[in-house]
Symmetry: C2
Subunit: 465 residues, 2 copies
């Protein structure tokens, strides 16, 4: 009876502890680690962290939280950039790292079934000798569950698509504790609402994903990678645009501006000319790869690009892409002690050069340091704002820059985020991007599937708790 | 005041007539034409048909219907096969054929914006001299709106994906009369719930689609098509499976069983050997196409296939694909006077040969006539059951066969429909395929966006009107 005076979250923690023992952790350090750590957003820790080991565990945790109307925040690898795992209203964080089994590989169907805690690198390690691979590669070694929940993308998206194109089906625990499977394993279906795509990118606000069926790709017979320098960012973008428009099935085409090249040279021990640069990769048959790279070389010449510098050996190729994936850390090296605010927008590719160039000008005018990297084949680029968090004027200038960046992208029929997701950081832009009626439709869907508002509240759509 | 004794639908028709004059039609013949006509499902006509000419018209019609709680059924080209446009509860059919403008073509971004009444052939005619094309091709000259609403697919899906992969954004009028735009024109986005994919395949039950932004593909430099005969359906499927698994980027790979070949020979004046047959097409550079077809030829040999018969001239290629698209009509010719019940299922490709073979055996055991064609690269195949609608025993046998076909596909981790959609015909299978909790989630979404149940009621999910 004296339980009535206990806060709901405390009652939930007691019930969870009865069920899960020492897999329930309330130590402040662990809680802080499970809140947002990779941006300038404040760290808002959950009240407790529970380490789940199965879908049934997740179901039991959600049911306990639902009974007490306590928030549930799913946690994968913690690599998100927009505050997705913060707990602004407290609640229970479900750490999914122990749901890390590859449940099935159907190489003949080019798919596999995994638990959400499997990371993309662990998956590719597992698949290594089966002739298939999982192509989606955000820089970090993110978990497949987190990548699904945030509709992640990366350098291969221009050829292989994003998570929306590569999740065939998923299992999720809903706010009401029910377990749904969104689709069968068939490659396509017209059987009802596309719950798969609704959950991909829903950031834990509609349910907790506990199993994912992924498309895989065959390992190409031949891979060729290399770099090509350009006189200006505009020229590099134009070469990328022409490459896409020409239908060259490039697997990766990544822009680094001169500042990022300088940062990556220092961090990754490269010796690239400090000019805007495209990193490219071609996949196909030996003849196909040779043909694609010759076609690209011709386009590069047309836009004043330098020679295409091959990375022939597999180690050189790995080194190149490791450098690309380390761009975030390299950028930090440009200004030790600064915090990096990594953001992204995406525009129709015809507007890319204009958007990147205007953004560079804006950065210069604001006297900020912000290297640019981009998945330019998709029209998607990143800005790493390096901010001295003790300088309130600089913070204010960065804030203004971000607002203008998003406004610029939306005005060009683009989006406030191509791949980082909404989380807390981009919520304020959704009305401008989608309009009030579409946002109201999202809110109606959220209320329909989570009437108590317990699933990762305070993310994507506003909702009273 | 005596209006109170008038049925709601009559009040709606009066209001519509005040607004739209003779664009409101209640003639029985027109109403019957706007109900389902292409299956054995009974024709259930709407109470009136309104010819809309703009999104604003659609909004006005939906608002009038919402005020009277009268059903709204969107109508494109009327080519659907599962009763999607029937009006089991009466109501107002919105005919969208006059919303037939191509609003923009952005060849440089490989996209375009169209109204829903544009048909796929009209669109490709329009795009012809711009170096781009729209690849999705269900057999019929369906409207883009209908194709979007039913998540249509077709012969090119193995290479270019389905409507879910090729709709970038859409505009829709919701049940509350609000107009939403689901996404920007950027190629990818992580900005909130994927309303685009939720509406693709929603069959008019969540709103009426009034504008669609489509991905386009560059017209390939070279195209090669041809046919290849196989000793058995199993061998043809195995060759298709191996082709996909080998990563050959085949653009089309279509199966016709021996019976369908006989039908198509007669209907389309071909002279193919009456054996299971693959129709194929390769897209790419000249060298790439040559390489792909050589690789396929090797696979075909391995599975006892005959020589690959080229259709080199563009006319021969058109004739071949016209024959494939006319398979439905050709099948009818096998049994004049019969009704064709065209159905489809889709399974993981590794199970395809087994599923097709078991289905053929079942057809024979039921003493039915049912040629098979299939988009075998996707694991998707069609059965055209030719039924004497005066023979109740035959109808019962066909019914039983369909049940078993769906059960077989689902047991193989497949779906009750790869591309035809749910409509009325496949509603009864959704619980078996998705399970009660997932179906309940679909119902919750339907109620959230259409609380009065006026948008195409009696399709996909059960809901009280």
């Amino acid at each position: 009876m004296n339980d009535a005076h206990v806060r709901p979250v405390e009652r939930a923690i007691r019930a969870l502890t009865r069920a899960f023992g020492n897999r329930v952790v309330t130590a402040p350090a662990v809680r802080a680690q499970h809140a947002n750590t990779t941006t300038w957003l404040p760290n808002e820790p959950p009240d407790a962290v529970v380490y789940a080991q199965s879908t049934a565990d997740v179901q039991a945790i959600v049911r306990i939280c639902a009974a007490e109307r306590v928030p549930v925040i799913a946690f994968g690898a913690g690599t998100s950039l927009e505050g997705h795992v913060n707990a602004p209203r407290g609640g229970i964080c479900i750490d999914l790292k122990d749901l890390n089994r590859v449940l099935a590989v159907h190489a003949e169907d080019l798919d596999c079934v995994v638990e959400p805690g499997v990371t993309r690198k662990a998956l590719n390690e597992y698949l290594r000798d089966q002739g298939v691979f999982f192509p989606i590669d955000p820089g970090a070694d993110a978990s497949i569950g987190g990548m699904t929940a945030t509709r992640a993308s990366g350098t291969n998206a221009v050829r292989y698509g994003t998570m929306k194109d590569n999740v065939l089906a998923l299992k999720a625990v809903l706010a009401n504790g029910e377990i749904i499977k969104t689709a069968q394993r068939a490659r396509k279906s017209a059987a009802g609402y596309d719950l798969t795509r609704l959950f991909v990118g829903s950031e834990g606000t509609l349910g907790v994903i506990t199993e994912i069926t992924l498309r895989l790709a065959g390992i190409p017979e031949a891979i060729a990678a290399g770099t090509c320098a350009f006189p200006t960012v505009g020229a590099a973008c134009d070469a990328a645009i022409m490459t896409i428009q020409s239908g060259i099935p490039v697997a990766r085409i990544e822009l680094l501006d001169a500042l990022q090249v300088r940062a990556s040279n220092a961090y990754s021990k490269l010796s690239l000319p400090e000019q805007p640069m495209l990193f490219l990769e071609f996949h196909g048959s030996s003849a196909g790869v040779a043909e694609q790279s010759a076609q690209f070389a011709e386009i590069a010449r047309e836009f004043g690009g330098g020679a295409f510098e091959w990375a022939v050996a597999a180690e050189d190729r790995s080194r190149l892409w490791q450098a690309r994936h380390d761009a975030y850390w390299a950028a930090l090296g440009l200004r030790p002690g600064a915090k990096s605010l990594a953001t992204d927008v995406c525009v129709p590719i015809s507007r890319l050069a204009e958007c990147v160039t205007a953004t560079q000008r804006d950065v210069a005018e604001c006297r900020l340091v912000a290297p640019i990297v981009g998945h330019v084949g998709d029209g998607n680029f990143h800005l790493s704002l390096l901010i001295d968090m003790n300088d309130s004027d600089e913070i204010a200038r960065a804030d203004g820059l971000l607002e203008r960046l998003v406004k610029r992208a939306i005005a060009m029929e683009g989006t406030c985020t191509g791949e980082h997701g909404v989380g807390q950081g981009k919520m304020k832009y959704l009305a401008a991007e989608h309009g009030a009626p579409a946002l109201a439709a999202m809110e109606a869907i959220k209320r329909a599937l989570d009437p108590q508002g317990i699933m990762n509240p305070g993310k994507i759509v506003p909702q009273d708790g």
